[in-house]
Amino acid sequence: MAIGPEVLKIKDLKKSFGETAVLKGLTLTVRQGEVLVIIGPSGCGKSTLLRCLNGLEKVNGGEIVFGGQFLTDPQTNWSRTRQRIGMVFQNYELFPHLTALENILLGPLRVQNRKKEEALAVAEGWLTRVGLWDRRDAYPRELSGGQKQRVAIVRALAMDPEIMLFDEVTASLDPEMVREVLDVILTLAKEGLTMLIVTHEMAFAKAVADRIIFLDEGVIVEDASPTVFFENPATERAKKFLNIFQYDDYHKNEGAKGDSGDSPLTPPVIF
């Protein structure tokens, strides 16, 4: 998909919780249709960044401009802004007292005051696409983790957002359900939806990203194409981080030493 004009500009964004600075002056520009995958060690501020973008966290400094509007302005109408920014959470957070369809229709009907038939048609379209239209009357507790997360994605999409934020959306899923959720996001990427994705799925990141944003200790350490980032990371910090995912090398290196010393995988000798 063609990359369009700038939709989101973040300038020198700062956020701290008490004494702890989590984002230490972060600058980033996102263009329409771009898919950014944000990776980095836990506690690096990935989730906080997403949460600042839709006002779930108050920022301490810097600027966020979304569609020409300053979100760092205290007068921001968040109800209106959040309709344009879809967010999907790690633990789905479907409303347990509502069916899948009711979860999806709540925003369009109550927030956007859309006509019932229109909202229903949109919901049917999306639910059919993620393969869950026949599960529309199920309550969240009757759905699998993967199904819940697909419904949660549709709930955000049904608002017709201009940008989607995914906050570790597969981190709570069993491995066999990860794929069905990632496939949905891959399709959305192909269709040109602007997305910011926080994930630990490196293969997925490689496949879906236009740009990889590597965050560490509250700053952007690398901003590169996936090919460059994964095959030729510029910084030591990125190399070290990527190493975490290299089990094969680790094992080989241990073996190559050829000594009979303690491998971490050997059970400890108690006596």
Binding site: F95, P96, L106, M159
Partner: protein, 218 residues
């Protein structure tokens, strides 16, 4: 035990039970309304009103209903405010019940996670919509056992109304005791209270079961 005596006196108890039920009904409804208001002010942490609600709750929960009724019935006339016995009964029961209801609702509201609130906010729900469509329905399900306990408690608390000269069940029972009919009176009292309270208890038990299966606790 004298069955004819019991049959003979039962119309008196039916009338007293009706009165007790009417007073309890209004007390419970108004308590729920007052309690909900208090719980909501505390949920939104509205300054001042939420502290006021907190102070009221402590005052109402930590003084006996009989003392509250004394104040309304015998205390207020001294400052020129004379309320009828029935008004005192309903106001007193509401004053007591509002605090218990507030605590029942608060427990439910507190049980709805911060993540649910954030999910609601993220689809653009406003503060009131969030409460109405996301938080309140879930809170109600959690609160229901506490609400049910409060309703039953309030219905039983009506038994002190006789001190403000209301011809409720205890009042007519005291009259009968003067005739030296302890066993019959006791039987009639038990039967009357059971008749009005047990159905309420059963309805709530049913409701709790229904809500438990309605898709909560996913």
């Amino acid at each position: 035990m004298d069955l004819t005596y019991i049959l003979d006196k039962s119309p008196v108890f039916v009338a007293a039970a009706k009165l007790t039920l009417v007073l309890a009904f209004w007390g419970v409804i108004l308590s729920a309304a007052l309690g909900l208001m208090c719980a909501v002010t505390r949920f939104y942490r509205w300054p001042l009103v939420s502290q006021l609600a907190g102070a009221y709750i402590e005052l109402a929960r930590n003084t006996p209903l009989m003392v509250q009724l004394f104040f309304l019935y015998f205390g207020l006339p001294r400052v020129g405010l004379v309320l009828s016995g029935q008004t005192c009964a309903i106001v007193g029961l509401t004053f007591l019940g509002g605090a218990y209801m507030a605590e029942a609702f608060r427990g439910g509201l507190a049980a709805v996670g911060k993540d649910q609130v954030e999910a609601g906010l993220s689809i653009g729900l406003g503060r009131f919509q969030l409460l109405r469509y996301v938080v309140a329905p879930q809170a109600l399900a959690v609160s229901l056992p506490a609400i049910s306990a409060t309703v039953i408690f309030l219905m039983k608390e009506t038994s002190v109304f006789s001190i403000v000269a209301i011809p409720d069940l205890m009042y007519v029972a005291k009259d009968l005791l003067k005739e030296g009919r302890g066993a019959e009176t006791n039987f009639l009292l038990c039967a009357a209270y059971l008749t009005i309270i047990l159905p309420v208890s059963l309805i709530f038990a049913r409701l709790e079961k229904r809500l438990r299966f309605a898709g909560f606790g996913s």
